[in-house]
Symmetry: none
Subunit: 209 residues, 4 copies
DNA sequence: GATGAATGAGGGTTCATTCAT
DNA sequence: TATGAATGAACCCTCATTCAT
């Protein structure tokens, strides 16, 4: 008669949140490693050290878990990035700050995996892509575009290309994420240096430092 | 003992190639729409208007079909792109030619879907990523890097950033593919304009035209 | 942090064993009727009154189920047979006891089907044949051979043929199993009488009884 | 345009027979190696060096091929064995002749494989078992039984066991076939010695020789 | 007759989801 | 609330059989 020690009593809100977080944590590892379709909820449960059925107490189904993962980890960083263009720094410094934030808070953290998942799986989940477009892109791009436009008008930027396509600023960052997922074993990409080079291409060599 | 030339079976070599192509064609549609895991060979067969079993006469299994898809459609375009940096055009024109080739021969064709599949599924198929790194990246990047380095040395390029990270040249192209896959319905990206803006950011506004 | 003993899941250990037994039971029927290859796990499941997937909770795959069948039903009878030659009965009585055990505990039970399966399918499962050789043959034959050899030396047996080939003792038993599988509807074989006749052939008519 | 040299012209009856024999030959190898269910007609065709479809010009289906195999190879040996008991040799010599024939013409030939196939697959093919019972058992057993009965009555045989169960004479032979299929790699059985020992068990040590 | 490409039914296996305990 | 055994739909792949050439 196999038995197991089980915590009893009404789970407090704190417990609930902790367990939810543990599931999301485990899910991130598994989804990042195998992709959405090839991830087994069995493995997520095992990694989170809970029973398989428990997942369904916290998330409606596999897809809801995936969505929650993206929502949870995508949001916290947004505000900070969105705030940067509002400052009165020169555009170059703003770009540098954005790059730095990306490297430090995304690329070097597990958020990188979430971003990769959005890039690689997002197309299959229109709802998720919509969420991401609204919550992330929609919050970051407008202020950035506004600031870049002003810079183009005042001559701070020689061309209005960046203003029309602010995506150009982060394109190398996304490339780095994909590149390292695909080709790290052949030729790892040094993101920090990449972003530096990128900024130099855009703004010219840094005067001093 | 009289002998005679006899056609083998029903299908001629031409038929065989055509059918193989039809399967690849159907597979591209399905893989692009649903990703590797969620694609049913049943649907591929139906789309190619053949029986399910027939696929296995042409490809060992689902994965082999996927690989063949990438190999078949990735290769033809490589040589052309790899040849461009060898010309004696100024770097700006080379970059422009590469961008143009990308737009015309990849982005506006179904090759775009293959490239997207590599970006989104490649991580799950190390063998495939290896193939792609060798056959595509490995053929295009070295000559490009060489030409960029020379340009940096002769002052044709103000900075050596591009020379150190030639990937920067195509990062916006890849971004465009992913962007349109994810967000086309919200804000379609005009690749041609995007690449123009990108080139202007890198090389300054085109003198005339 | 209050703790409490909780039964794991729905099924107790007893249930688990019962269900496992039910599957093995159903599998025996199906394998015996159709052979390994032609048996459908679907049918096994239906006969065991469970869902097809449930089988895989108890056995890794079809082959593991087949192995388990043999292992489970082959073993229990071995010890008893192996012990017989150790007794100090005359050889004839030992042979008679073996024959009787065979008839009663194998031929008249479902173990007969398992034995038939080993005879008919064993060649295709070297691992299984190896198991059977080690666990069954290897335990029964040596003590039997030893006893027969002694009998040959002491003159209890006129010839040493049986000692050199103890298999001769059971050959008719195996024949009976195969015969009835193949020809029962034409000419059923009375195993008990067959074995009696066999023993008489070997040892002469029984003095009295 | 792949071509192949193909023999043309009306195939003579001789050709037909040769091809039929080649198919049976290949089929024997494959059936013996993998059993009925696991044998692929593809492999049979390849081994016979013909196209898969050709098999169907000679045999209605897989089962018909299997039946033909048994019928073809089982028959030729029957007459000879059935004739032996008719002779006026002593029973022991008849038994010895039968054993010898078995060893030489079955066990040491590919007929052994056919016999093994009947033993292992026959139950699944009632029609085949019926054929075998009629054509083989039915022709061999009656004369043998008759002769053994006479021997029992005249006292040539001490017991009437053999007369009532003539199968006892060949049981060790069948055992040998199965044993070597299952356990040859562990402990090969010397059939000739086995049969000698068997005869000695039945008839006592041979006076001389 | 001979070929072998094509067919498609069939079955083993997986795994998201359910639910009795 | 938590569990994990049970479910069964889904899907890949095989291979006997067919048939246009």
């Amino acid at each position: 008669m196999p038995v197991k020690l089980v915590r009893q009593g009404r789970a407090s809100a704190r417990d609930r949140n902790a367990r939810r977080a543990a599931i999301l944590d485990a899910a991130l590892d598994e989804f990042a490693a195998h992709g959405f379709a090839a991830t087994r909820l069995d493995d997520v449960a095992r990694r989170a050290d809970i029973a398989k059925g428990t997942i369904y107490l916290y998330f409606r189904d596999k897809e809801a878990l995936f969505h929650a993962l993206v929502r949870t980890l995508a949001s916290p960083i947004i505000a900070r990035i969105a705030a940067l263009p509002e400052s009165d720094m020169p555009v170059r410094q703003i770009a540098q700050a954005i790059a730095q934030t990306f490297v430090r808070d995304i690329f070097l953290t597990r958020r990188k995996e979430v971003l990769r998942l959005i890039l690689t799986e997002g197309q299959r989940f229109p709802h998720l892509a919509g969420f991401y477009y609204r919550e992330v892109i929609g919050r970051v791009l407008p202020p950035l575009r506004k600031r870049l436009r002003r810079a183009a008008e005042t001559g701070e930027l020689a061309s209005d290309g960046l203003a029309r396509f602010p995506q150009l600023l982060v394109a190398p960052a996304l490339l780095a994420i994909l590149w390292n997922g695909l080709f790290e074993r052949f030729a790892p990409l040094d993101v920090e240096a990449l972003m530096q080079a990128h900024l130099e291409s855009l703004f010219g060599k840094e005067p001093r430092r």
